[in-house]
């Protein structure tokens, strides 16, 4: 187990290292001269030269990369081009908003997903099962930004129960969380259903039933506990989907989080902010993934990875 954790952590470091290379390259895959693009059309030559100087774009790539990397390790993500504020400060104020949004959404998704998945599995082939499966398919096929727009229209404007925008109070939080959580709930429900069906057909469940254990206990204590293992993994992986999906949700609900920061920065060609925000989100996701992997291993000692 200890060995596994060490190996997994080393792997994480390699991946994070690769992530920095990819994020660094973002600035250089722009068609044309990044300094010119940042300066905007018709900018005077000395402004462009200034930007080039400031971002070190005159240096060879490998020198630029190592400066970039050593700055990151020092916790310095550069300064925003638009307002000259350190990128790290821009991120700090927004980071927790996005983490909160993603975490609440995961919680909602796990709750709804487990509930729907278990009910569908227990009532396999009934109309409840079919109905839930249709709902799940819709949940998987719906663009979350569209769901968000519709929720605003009907639950904030027509029936003004919730706030249409912002983040912080519960009236503001409900709609974004529902918007972001629905797709994940569908994925988890599907996973739970098939995982439950796998377990329910196992011999030990039949044995438990034959022993006269109450059906409720069979389902929740014996079956669900074992069916949860693959679900945990999916939920962990989904956290990444939520972080990415937050970009769309935050845009729809004008939530001032990381996603909106990225989109605004893309709009104003503020590359250091784009790089910084993408790097932070990817790092968070990689760390969460590693933790999920380790807990998966811990939960299910029977599986032997390699």
């Amino acid at each position: 187990m200890f060995q596994f954790i060490v190996r997994r952590l080393l792997q994480m470091i390699v991946v994070l290292f690769g992530v920095t290379i990819l994020v660094f390259s973002l600035m250089h895959i722009t068609p044309g001269d990044p300094a010119r693009i940042i300066a905007g059309e018709g900018a005077p030559e000395h402004t462009i030269e200034n930007i080039r100087e400031k971002l070190g774009l005159n240096e060879p790539y490998h020198v630029q990369y190592f400066t970039f990397l050593s700055n990151i390790l020092k916790g310095d993500l550069g300064n925003s081009i638009r307002n000259n504020i350190p990128v790290i400060e821009e991120i700090q104020t927004r980071f927790w908003t996005t983490v909160e949004l993603a975490t609440y959404s995961v919680m909602l998704a796990v709750f709804l997903g487990l509930l729907a998945g278990v009910i569908a599995a227990v009532r396999q082939y009934s109309w409840i099962d079919s109905g839930l499966m249709v709902l799940i398919l819709f949940g998987l096929s719906m663009p979350n930004f569209w769901l968000g727009l519709m929720l605003i229209k009907y639950f904030a404007i027509e029936i003004p129960i919730f706030d249409p925008s912002g983040w912080g109070t519960w009236q503001q939080n409900v709609l974004p969380v529902v918007t972001l959580g629905t797709g994940g709930a569908a994925i988890i429900a599907r996973m739970t259903r098939s995982s439950m069906l796998d377990v329910i057909n196992q011999d030990y469940i039949r044995t438990a039933r034959a022993k006269g254990v109450k059906e409720r206990i069979v389902i929740y204590k014996h079956a669900l506990k074992n069916a949860l293992i693959p679900v945990v993994t999916v939920a962990g992986l989904e956290f990444g989907g939520f972080l990415g999906g937050a970009v769309l949700t935050e845009t729809v609900f004008a939530v001032n989080g990381m996603g909106r920061l990225v989109i605004n920065a893309i709009g104003s060609r503020d590359f250091p902010v784009v790089q910084g925000a993408v790097l932070v989100l990817a790092t968070l996701f990689v760390i969460v993934n590693t933790l999920v992997d380790i807990s998966y291993r811990y939960l299910n000692k029977r599986i032997d990875l390699e």
Binding site: L22, W146, L197, G240, L281
Partner: protein
């Protein structure tokens, strides 16, 4: 002579029995699958709409007519008109081909690259495998749609860039599936036998491995189509994909966003169009997966 003949016949029956787990059996099971049938029919319908639809609509998808803006659905404008007085039904019909085009090409590009990387990784193993799979891990380290957003955002919004962004986004899923299948196949004796007979690597890969792992690749491609269409419409919605006045559905949603509170039809129909197409691919993908793995279906 007689016995030789009957030997040949037995061999043939054996071959038929073996093919029961192969591609043909996959197709046979697929035909019987209701979900796949519905999804498949819907996909064919959307393809027909994409090809012939534009010839059948009476309005011009780009024609701006402010006197007729934001009309609610009527017999003249089935889905109403948008803020520039353009007929939404016509725009959705014209947008079908754009949506399918983006989905199809991004998945094909992602598939070709992903399949090649996956086969090489699984077939050669060792250091090549490690390098390729770590690279896939790096691509997967970017949560969800974020990588596509970053790439499309930096490259600049255009249909071509969306295709590139979504293609890169779909590479790892193909690479992983194909690597797994290749590893499983490589263990079979007959690959060893072919190798002993002196077949080159390229021949083994393209003539013996690739045809045998087609089914999981097709399943993956169908499922990725659904993802690709959702992702691409998301990018357009964020303003870093297809640009207005292109009648791409995500772009239409973005374009009409500020009007939806008073005129919900502006957002309702493009959104439903996305749901319908993605649903079709999800249904077909599910059916394909069941046909690929009959054990799942028996449950």
């Amino acid at each position: 002579m007689m016995s030789q003949n009957s030997d040949a016949i037995t061999a043939k029956t054996k071959a038929a029995a073996v093919s029961d787990v192969g591609f043909r059996a996959f197709i046979r099971r697929l035909r019987k699958n209701k979900t796949a049938f519905i999804g498949g029919c819907a996909i064919i319908f959307f393809i027909l709409v994409a090809i012939f639809g534009p010839f059948l609509t009476v309005h011009d998808p780009y024609h701006v007519d402010y006197t007729n803006k934001l009309l609610t659905p009527s017999s003249e404008h089935w889905f109403g008109t948008d803020h520039a007085g353009r007929d939404i039904f016509t725009r959705i019909i014209h947008g079908t081909s754009i949506t399918l085009f983006i989905g199809f090409f991004s998945v094909i590009i992602g598939m070709v690259i992903g399949v090649l990387l996956g086969i090489i990784s699984g077939f050669y193993g060792g250091i090549i495998d490690t390098i390729i799979m770590r690279f896939m891990d790096i691509l997967l380290a970017f949560p969800g749609i974020l990588l596509a957003i970053a790439i499309a955002g930096v490259l600049g919004g255009s249909l071509g860039n969306v295709i590139i962004a979504v293609a890169i986004f779909s590479i790892p899923s193909f690479a992983r599936v194909v690597r797994g299948s290749t590893l499983a196949l490589k263990k079979l004796e007959y690959i060893d036998a072919i190798k002993t007979l002196g077949a080159g690597d390229a021949r083994i890969i393209f003539k013996h491995i690739l045809p045998n792992i087609l089914s999981p690749i097709i399943v993956q491609a169908t499922i990725r189509m659904a993802y690709a269409i959702l992702t691409a419409s998301g990018l357009s919605f964020l303003g870093i994909g297809a640009q207005p006045p292109t009648p791409e559905w995500g772009a239409m949603l973005n374009d009409g966003r500020q009007f939806i509170f008073d005129y919900p039809h502006v957002a309702l129909f493009p959104g439903l169009a996305i749901v319908a197409v993605v649903l079709a691919f999800n249904l077909f993908g599910d059916g394909l997966r069941d046909a690929l793995d009959p054990k799942l279906k028996q449950r």
